[in-house]
């Protein structure tokens, strides 16, 4: 398991867990991201800026701050 901010742009991974507090988890769920979903790690802002993640099943893209990206734990699709 790696935090999302350690992935490289273009990498396809599966969300294993969201380690954030309830508010962040609820918000991510509402935006359509849940453990088990395959996502593609996308662009990232310079200077510790946000990370874009795209849900490969629903096609939704969101930008999350680096602090939240650190709490989204992912693994390669086969694990």
């Amino acid at each position: 398991m790696t935090p999302l901010d350690k992935t490289v742009s273009g990498q396809k991974v599966r969300i294993v867990d969201i380690a954030g507090g309830e508010a962040v988890r609820r918000r991510l769920f509402a935006l359509g991201f849940q453990p088990g979903d395959m996502i593609e790690s996308g662009s990232r802002g310079i200077w510790g800026g946000p990370v874009v993640l795209r849900n490969l099943r629903t096609g939704v893209s969101v930008a999350v701050g680096r602090g939240i990206a650190r709490k989204i734990l992912v693994a390669s699709g086969h694990e």
Partner: protein, 643 residues
């Protein structure tokens, strides 16, 4: 509340699903739209006649789910529950169907007759997604109408479907949860106290209670029905024990997987040889280096287009008004009528020749950026800088809207989850040069000192906001977990939508602002005729002449600037008794700059202040006014010393 005799049709959907565009197509263009999640932050009512029947239709802010997390979503929910709609039109984004259906599933549990508008089919097509409306209709058990709101397709069918449902209301079928969950829901629904006022139905209320977060409402419910709290806790614990997850996650996960399943059963996704242009363009727009180059380019283009289009027009339009004024002056002379007619002409001319040439290009540029979906990209790019200023990227959208007008920008802070971010953003928005101030900057600084001076002015203004944000955030410790912003797909703005948006804003200007400009000019003429302006100018003398070093006659125009910022500029000519072309002879370059700095900053205009008061309370409004006055005086004096 709506008139009980008329049927109520309520539009609801996730942010940026095209709800307002659909609503506008039916209601006749009453709602502002944009390609940004959360452009509708207030609900809007409209009474329309369709096929001879009067129907109340209501557009709600977008909400991702029925568990609200920002004030705009709370608005949506309170209306959804209070209006007792006869028909729900659930607008879903076909290009994001898997996610959109999650809200649909929540809504169906209300058991209110529902029609699903499967919108943005063109966008879905571009992504290679094709959904079978028939299959979706069968899976959901409610009518599904394919639409492309932006091109007006499917509107008629949607209206017909809604009317048909109104005539023969059918309760949507119950979509069952897994057995373990369904049992717990039923158990709670059964055990709800008889005297509890439920929303929609007992089952729906039970689901909402299990899923709800730690909100005041639930606490309150628990207080008045102490037994209910134990029941709810017991049921949540049972659910949690089964899956090893918090109860709300059990529900969310199940709903998520069910929507994905429905999506996959009703849609096919074609693998495309090439990624769509919008995604390839995003690689550039959101690139760590190129992205910022583009952002800077957009900012420059924004500025120069407005100036290049505005300045020549300003010159052309002013001439006839100036000649009319001198002709009139020769005929009516120094009589009261002469003064009043001159004021009238100044007001009309100021609106047409000074304001509109800059206002219209600015509206067009804003509309283009909004509809293309660039604001979310700007939010992404600027997030890291905003962090260093104590905010985050989600505030970029309200800020950018502020360049058009501060009033809707303050309303747009409702998309921010934390109150602290909302207040901080609302306090900073009045420092953003809105279209009125841009007009002053371009017409005065740009026209007389050159576009580079005006650009410098703009940049300095942005720096000021950055410094203020940094300072203010020291007083408001951050409680925000960080950015969480949906990035909508890029779209090509349709000329129709741009035209409507510009028309919408122009109408508001002509109706509200222009009468103020004309009225203000006439009042000033009257004041001048009776020589009352002298008294005001004497009172303001120490500030205007002493501190700012401006001609004493401008005192009265500053007072009027509180109504509309452009008014100060229009009245300035009148107060100094000069025409726009001769202004350079009456005041120096330094005075122009000081005047522009002071007028831009000295106080949020009346409408902005009223909006601040309404959204954030009296304290914030007064704080904002005090802050503006302090900053304006300090900076003006500073500029006077430097220049």
């Amino acid at each position: 509340m709506s008139d009980p005799r008329n049927p109520v049709v309520l539009f609801i959907g996730q942010p940026n699903c095209g709800k307002s565009t659909l609503f506008n197509a039916i209601a006749g263009h009453k709602v502002q739209t944009a390609n940004f999640p959360g452009s509708t932050v207030q609900h809007s009512h409209s009474r329309v006649t369709i096929a001879g029947r009067i129907v109340d239709i209501i557009d709600l802010p977008g909400t991702y789910s029925l568990n609200p997390s920002d004030p705009a979503e709370k608005v949506a929910l309170s209306h959804l529950f209070q209006e007792k709609p006869d028909v729900l039109i659930n607008v879903v984004d076909a290009s994001l169907l898997g996610r959109s259906l999650e809200l649909t599933l929540e809504l169906l549990e209300m058991e209110v007759p529902t029609v699903v508008a499967l919108n943005m089919l063109d966008l879905a097509e571009r992504k290679g997604i094709s959904t079978d409306p028939g299959k979706l209709q069968a899976a959901l058990g409610v009518p599904v109408v394919p639409t492309i709101a932006a091109h007006g397709r499917g509107i008629k069918e949607l209206v017909e479907a809604a009317l048909a449902v109104l005539d023969a209301p059918a309760r949507p079928p119950r979509l069952r949860w897994s057995r373990a969950v369904e049992e717990k829901i039923a158990e709670l629904a059964d055990r709800l106290p008889e005297d509890l006022s439920v929303v929609a139905n007992k089952r729906f209320t039970a689901v909402r209670m299990i899923e709800s977060g730690p909100t005041f409402c639930v606490d309150f419910l628990r207080e008045i029905h102490p037994g209910l709290r134990d029941t709810l806790d017991e049921i949540r614990t049972k659910l949690e024990a089964g899956r090893g997850l918090p109860a709300y996650e059990v529900m969310a996960a199940e709903r998520h997987h069910r929507s994905m399943k429905i999506f996959e059963e009703t849609s096919t996704v074609r693998r495309r040889a090439r990624r769509p242009w919008s995604e390839r363009l995003d690689d550039v727009l959101m690139h760590p280096v190129l992205g910022y180059v583009v952002l800077f380019g957009v900012f420059l283009a924004f500025f120069f287009v407005i100036f290049k289009a505005g300045a020549p027009l300003e010159g052309v339009f002013l001439k006839p008004f100036e000649s009319a004024r001198s002709a009139l002056g020769a005929r009516l002379g120094q009589s009261l009528w002469g003064y009043l007619a001159d004021g009238l002409l100044q007001g009309i001319g100021g609106g047409i020749a000074i304001v509109l040439p800059y206002f219209i290009p600015l509206l067009v540029m804003m509309a283009l950026l909004e509809d293309a979906g660039y604001l979310a990209r700007a939010g992404f790019l600027l997030d890291t800088f905003m962090h260093r200023l104590g905010l985050h990227g989600k505030s970029v959208s309200p800020f950018v809207l502020g360049f058009g007008c501060n009033v809707p920008a303050i309303a747009a802070t409702r998309i921010l989850e934390s109150r602290r971010d909302r207040i901080l953003t609302s306090l900073l928005i009045p420092f953003i040069p809105c279209s009125a101030r841009t007009t002053i900057i371009l017409a005065l600084v740009g026209f007389y000192l050159g576009p580079l001076w005006a650009l410098g002015f703009y940049v300095a203004n942005l720096l000021l906001i950055a410094v203020l944000s940094r300072v203010l955030s020291l007083f408001f410790p951050s409680d925000s977990p960080g950015l969480l912003l949906e990035i909508p797909a890029l779209k090509i703005p349709t000329p129709k939508s741009i035209a409507y948006k510009v028309y919408f804003q122009l109408k508001a200007f002509v109706r509200l602002a222009w009468p103020l400009l004309i009225g203000g000019s006439i009042v000033l003429s009257a004041l001048q005729y009776f020589r009352w302006d002298k008294a005001l100018n004497v009172v303001l003398g120490p500030l205007v002449a002493g501190l700012l070093g401006l001609p004493r006659e401008l005192g009265v125009t500053l007072v009027f600037g509180f109504l509309r910022k452009e008014l100060s500029l229009v009245m300035m000519l009148q107060a100094l008794g000069t025409s726009f072309q001769d202004l350079g002879r009456m005041i120096t370059r330094e005075q122009m700059i000081v005047f522009t700095v002071f007028v831009s900053l000295f106080i949020p205009c009346l409408s902005t202040l009223a909006m601040l008061w309404k959204e954030s309370g009296r304290k914030v409004a007064l704080l904002s006014a005090g802050l503006s006055i302090t900053v304006a005086i300090a900076l003006s004096v500073l500029v006077r010393m430097i220049v």
